[in-house]
Symmetry: C2
Subunit: 292 residues, 2 copies
């Protein structure tokens, strides 16, 4: 079986190390980035660097996009739609709304191009270590086709039809945000009640209340360290996307709604946009009249 040729579009903070892992694994790879200089170092690792996007995709069997948001992905698809090979598979690994993922799939389907939505979780460290959680929506056949490529970047799981990869990412984000809120309440109650929050986190380790959020974000709260990490403005955008999707399926999610409104306040009224999402602790303190 000949190796499938891959085009990788978008070599930013996440995309660059992901593309690097592909070319180092021996994938025939062409990369493209709007600012080409960011992609050039990949040439030293064996990738072709395309100077325009049509050249990048025209020979590709699999096209991977890693953009900042859904509208950017749609614009790129429109740019190259007539240049794609028949039977190409488009894999969007950007984080978008589920509805945007489904729209991508529909637009491509009209040209007989298949599609997967496959957003990731794990940050730049996961991208570098090829340990990303990859949540994949689309037909299982296409998932199996892309699986060898996914495995060079992390741990892929097929979660359902088109859009459900993005939906899973949103579920991830809602759990993260609400858990941050829970940990904030526990940390504040502990310290105001005279317990040592660091000892508390140690005591809870391994139990039902334990999580990475408790240990890492909880420590940030105790230390007053809100250097990102995960930006609060992105957490807010994600929560807006969660609620938009919930509305589409006619669901009310009370905790997500509450934490969304509190992040909105933190971002707009407390200068929190560029702070780590564990900064929700500051919002909790402020509403209780405690100094930051």
């Amino acid at each position: 079986m000949t190796k499938e040729k891959v085009a990788f579009l978008g070599t930013g903070l996440m995309g660059f190390p992901m593309a690097l892992n592909l070319t180092r694994s021996g994938v025939p790879l062409t990369v493209w980035n709007r600012t080409q200089t960011k992609a050039n170092p990949l040439a030293l690792e064996g990738a072709k660097v395309a100077s325009n996007i049509v050249d990048a995709v025209k020979e590709a069997d699999i096209v991977i996009s890693m953009m900042s948001d859904g509208p950017t992905v749609l614009a790129v698809i429109e740019d190259v739609l007539q240049s794609l090979k028949p039977e190409a598979l488009w894999v969007d690994m950007s984080s978008t709304k589920p509805a945007e993922g489904r729209l991508q799939a529909a637009i491509l389907l009209e040209q007989n191009i298949t599609h997967l939505d496959a957003p990731v979780s794990g940050g730049t460290k996961g991208a570098e270590d090829a340990s990303l959680a990859i949540m994949v929506g689309g037909c299982r056949d296409n998932f199996e086709r892309a699986r060898p490529i996914f495995k060079m970047m992390g741990r892929p799981v097929h979660v359902g039809p088109s859009g459900t990869g993005q939906l899973s990412k949103l579920c991830n984000q809602t759990i993260v945000a609400v858990t941050i809120g829970a940990v904030a309440e526990a940390m504040l109650l502990a310290s105001e009640g005279g317990a040592d929050p660091t000892a508390l986190r140690s005591a809870l380790k391994g139990g039902f209340a334990d999580s990475t959020i408790l240990q890492q974000h909880g420590q940030r709260m105790t230390d007053g360290n809100f250097v990102p990490g995960g930006l609060s403005k992105f957490q807010l955008k994600d929560l807006d996307n969660v609620l938009a999707e919930a509305t589409l399926v006619n669901l009310s999610l009370p905790m997500t709604e509450d934490v969304r409104n509190r992040f909105a306040y933190f971002v707009s009224e407390m200068d929190g946009a560029e702070k780590d999402h564990s900064g929700l602790f500051l919002e909790l303190k402020a509403r209780n009249g405690r100094a930051s």
Copy 2:
């Protein structure tokens, strides 16, 4: 150094395996239970079984109580207060309100008896495996004195002064309850949006959203299995205790308040008292007009 003699009061579901681990570790142990037949099997393992509570405590250097609630502990303390050895240490491992823990300490202090509040987390399995998380409030000297005994039952952590052991247990419970709420919203959104919740939990494993609650309670939600486990009526009682303590230190905890009200509804209006606390998923479905 001679071994300290220990009295263990209350050999119920949790207390029995805890006492068993002490006597098997070679601690000179006298046990007492209101219904003596429940304590009798410990005699076969080397413990003395006292037929009345004064006999149980009168020679003890360390008295451990493991009762159903704070008022029961206070009643037992009143019963034996005049019979305790000078310089005895009372260790209450029951789950009570922090204020009740401080009151126990104050009553004992008048008789020059020291005190630790040391509630546990980990359930009967943790009690049997001697892997309980033990959250200890009180003076550090007393913690060090009791530490060898604690280590025969689990993993002790000193978290601060009197009452903070109980406070830490409440922090544990508030994180557990709110995280259950977060996982419920993610599971419902995933399934209504067409994603496979089991695949979703697998995809999120090891990431920021992962937790024992996601994996265990999330699976209960998908399976519709609400056999306890952790009873919703106890979760509600714990959340009431959290909010009582928050009021004492003049704190508003919005997520805890919200989830407390929803557990109250689940318990009183949805026949949820004896169901597992992951049954909050049923409350979320009901408020969204979905069938259970």
